[in-house]
């Protein structure tokens, strides 16, 4: 299964399709990072049953998994890997859900700004809401998104917005749920 390290800062993604990927500043590295903070042979990694095992190669500035400095470690999809100061997120070949409420990674920064942006744009929201109702017989095209989802797409970082499908879900708190079924066991 192919997976990739998606660059969260600058620079290109690192595809992990071969059996071993060596990352560093040396010209012979599979993934070359041209920064003085990156060692010549910084770390190497391999796929292991859908996860990625990464090993520091005695680099000066080390590697971190989810902020924790490690010599050797295991990445699961969604985990963050820092190679010196350059951050990546592991994405498996398959798509996966991400939610603002979970506050994971890239989307975490979006959460508060999204709420602020939505509140600051009542005019746009009401204009969007004024869209004529669509007859049931007309199939909804994939590209045609709900107004709120379209607004959310504008707020997301471009590299995220390009790759995702947005679905707005409102989750009820426990207090707001309907009372328990009176016909339940006694």
């Amino acid at each position: 299964m192919s997976s990739r390290l998606v660059a969260l800062d600058e620079g290109p993604d690192i595809p992990l399709d071969g059996s071993m990927v060596v990352v560093g500043r040396h010209p012979q590295c599979d993934a070359r990072l041209d920064s003085l903070r990156v060692s010549r042979h910084h770390c190497c990694m391999t796929n292991d049953n859908g996860e990625v095992v990464v090993r520091d190669l005695g680099s000066t500035n080390g590697i971190r998994i989810n902020g924790q400095r490690v010599e050797i470690g295991r990445l699961r999809p969604g985990d963050e890997l820092s190679i010196a100061h350059i951050r990546y997120r592991l994405e498996s070949g398959q798509g996966h859900d991400a939610t603002l409420a979970e506050g994971n990674g890239v989307l975490a920064a979006v959460r508060s700004s999204a709420a602020a942006a939505l509140l600051a744009r009542p005019a746009a929201a009401s204009k969007a809401a004024a869209v004529e109702p669509r007859p049931l017989s007309v199939p909804l095209e994939e590209s045609l998104e709900k107004p709120l989802a379209a607004m959310m797409r504008e707020i997301l970082p471009p590299n995220v917005a390009d790759k995702c499908r947005i679905q707005i879900i409102v989750q009820m708190n426990e207090d707001d749920q309907a009372p328990a079924n009176p016909e339940g066991d006694h």
């Binding site: 060596v22 292991d48 859900d97 979970e102 709900k146 879900i169 409102v170 009820m172």
Partner: protein, 126 residues
């Protein structure tokens, strides 16, 4: 059973490739430590994935040779003679015994539960 490197010209023990990634060299931090002058501090790296063992030279001074030929990166085969610096090994790979497992292996669970399984989530048509 994991792949193994059996030494030919030294009295060190066999090297079991029991981890997906192994760093070989003279430095104390290495997973496989070979304290010989012909070995660089971080000499090479061995990765085991999908029943293949890949070896990669890490810019070592004396290099890595497989069956006498200097290599930068190579996939090791059963019976190969591997020289890390001046230290010789015979490559022993586990022989396939059973047919490969059924491809219908359970997919790894996603980060979040599927929406269909969670009754608390109510999609609202906006």
């Amino acid at each position: 059973m994991s792949a193994r490197l059996t030494p030919i010209n030294s009295n060190i023990g066999p090297v079991d490739l029991h981890r997906p990634v192994l760093l070989v060299g003279r430095h104390p931090e290495c997973d496989v430590r070979l304290e010989y002058p012909s070995i660089s501090r971080r000499h090479c790296c061995l990765a085991t994935a999908y029943d293949r063992v890949t070896l990669r030279d890490l810019g070592s001074r004396n290099g890595v040779r497989v069956n006498g030929l200097r290599v930068e990166e190579t996939v090791l085969r059963q019976g190969d003679e591997l020289a890390i610096g001046a230290i010789l090994f015979r490559v022993e790979l586990p022989q396939p015994v059973a047919p490969p497992p059924s491809p219908a292996a359970a997919p790894s669970p996603g980060l979040l539960p599927s929406l269909d399984e969670d009754d608390d989530l109510i999609p609202i048509d906006l």
